[in-house]
Amino acid sequence: MTAIRASRFQLPRSIFGRLRLLLATVFLVGALGALVAAWTLSRKAATDAYDQLLISSAAQISEAISAENGRYAVLPPDSAFETLAQSKDDRFFFAVRTPDGTLLTGESKLNPAAEPLRDGLPVLGYIRDDGETMRTVTIYRFIASLNAKGWCSVVVAQSLNARYHLIARLMLRIGAIIIFVGALGFLASLEAVRRALRPFDRIGYALAARRVQDTGPLEVDSPSETQALVETINHTFHRLNERLNKLQSFAGVAAHQIRTPLAALGAQAELLLIDKTAQSRRTRVERIRAHLAKLSRLTNQLLGQAMVSYRTDRIAHQEVELVELMRHVLRDAIPESLDRDLAVEFEPATPRIHVPGDDISLREALVNLVNNAVTHGASTALRVRIDEEPRHIRISIADDGPGIPPELWSAATEPFQLPRAEGEGVGLGLSIAADVAKAHGGTLAFARTAEGFFEIRLTIARSAPLEKAA
């Protein structure tokens, strides 16, 4: 079995390669066109010039026809053949005939053109002779004397070699000029393209020469045409830089948040070994338990954040039903062992509300919000609503607790930014929820309701962000 390979033409990958191909095609087609035009013109010029010689020769012969006493005679002058003999490679012959067609002189195989019978008008044509094409001219002459009267004909034939030589000579020169000018233009265009593309090379070299740590603006001398590109690159670097800085400070704070309770745990365990009274041991165990609880929460939130940021980048959104999701969230996020009694209110306006989204990220965000509200906020009531707005779905989680003071609202969604009392959460929950909201084309906002409830509002775009942009 033979493999059939479809030989498909592929365009070059580089702009330079493509332009080179385009320019080569244009110049080649142009040069071919110019050569064809030159050939047509040269042929016409050569034909006209040699035809003129042939006609004058035939005219001179015809002038020499005479009639006396009813007999025709011709004595062609030498000059009639001089010009024709100048083309050394060519044969020529002629025939002069009386009005009744009798050959007066010359070659009998040469016949005059039939028409028209007008005095002195040359008629041009071609014949084949001895395997060669020959040019012919026929001139009729009206002879009128006493006993003889009628149309005598003169035919002169000449082979074409001299014409061919002239065409070849002309074409050689014109062709050389066309090729020279074309090649010059082609090379000049290539150089122009190369120069136009050079700034890209410079930007590329400048980027390649950078060290990984270097995220400052790109220092490259660039013409105004590529300035926008350089600015875009610099803007990207700037954003990357910001992100890196944020990540670095996040890692620093996270390390602190993990190491502090670990150190405290170690210290309390050590003290437990040397404690004498049951009372003080009990106090130590209580503290160990509190630190452990804090560490567990932090671990969960760090894992939650890692998962959300992974899913934000890679998981495609699908249809999510929010009412059922919220019921699960309420069941998961409110501890059964909560000391306070709580009135939880969730009566959705419609039994089913669908949005495009990632259910796992949304659940993580909402669990964090509800858990925050229950553990730090709600003293007696938690109220959850899902409202449908024209462009967004709004999930509001309100509680009658102290909430976050307005001056901290803008910082609250940054990781580890809220001041924390001992034993409180570590402050990733709101930042996770804000990230998830953003990934769903929405926002996370805070509000105080008319009856003094603290409310967190998470919005989700009703149509996928990409569709909205279209």
């Binding site: 998962m307 709580l342 209110e345």
Partner: protein, 221 residues
């Protein structure tokens, strides 16, 4: 109540068993999936506390087999896996609740109590009595088709009483099912709770009546 704990990590298993025994339950502890599967076939448990990562037979398979045998025993899943997919998967396979390790033992006790309470009156999702409808999955109550604003504890109390209408529950029983033995709330809390619930049930066609010296029950008026 008889509870089966399936957990292979000794330190965790010990804690779970101890804290369930402290609640007054009889606890069996299986340390691998195969043993647990055998015990579940042979005996009747009122609740299973199931770790997902097990040697031999894993927790999800165990759960699947249990549900294939049409057992309605409530299952509380323990998992240390980070992905929430795991939790959703186990809920789809018929787990009734789940907790992510590390967990608080007080929360474990509260969840166990709530699971036993929810399954005391069968698995019906809706409890109807008089003009009152209790939706157990959404945890809402409607009186004459109007949502009633009940707190979580009021809902739990109503759920206990509704599971066996007309049966009398003592204050101690209610206290145990609501808060557990070691909890601080007193019988006085129960009285306050009953009073509040009575007020909210006005016009529902059911009422909570006191049997002096015995306890409380719910009846149709």
């Amino acid at each position: 109540m008889r509870i089966l704990v399936v957990e292979d990590t000794p330190d965790v298993g010990e804690g779970v068993v101890e804290s369930l025994e402290a609640m007054g339950h009889a606890v069996d502890w299986a340390r691998d999936g195969k043993t647990a599967d055998e015990w579940l076939r042979d005996s009747n448990y009122q609740l299973v506390v199931l770790d997902l990562m097990l040697p031999g037979l894993d927790g999800l398979t165990l759960l699947k087999r249990l549900r294939e045998r049409r057992s309605e025993t409530p299952v509380l899943v323990l998992t240390a896996r980070s992905a929430i997919d795991d939790r959703i998967g186990s809920l789809d396979l018929g787990a009734d609740d789940y907790m992510v390790k590390p967990f608080d033992f007080r929360e474990l006790q509260a969840r166990v109590r709530s699971l036993l309470r929810r399954h005391s009156g069968g698995r019906a999702i809706e409890l109807r009595y008089g003009n009152l409808v209790f939706d157990r999955s959404a945890r809402t109550v409607r009186i004459n088709d109007v949502p009633a604003k009940l707190t979580r504890r009021e809902l739990s109390l109503l759920e206990i009483l509704l599971a066996r209408p007309t049966m009398v529950f003592s204050k101690a029983q209610l206290l145990d099912q609501l808060f557990g033995f070691s909890a601080e709330p007193t019988e006085n809390n129960i009285e306050v709770l009953i009073t509040r619930l009575r007020r909210k049930l006005a016009g529902s066609g059911v009422e909570i009546t006191a049997q002096r010296g015995v306890g409380y029950r719910i009846v149709e008026t």
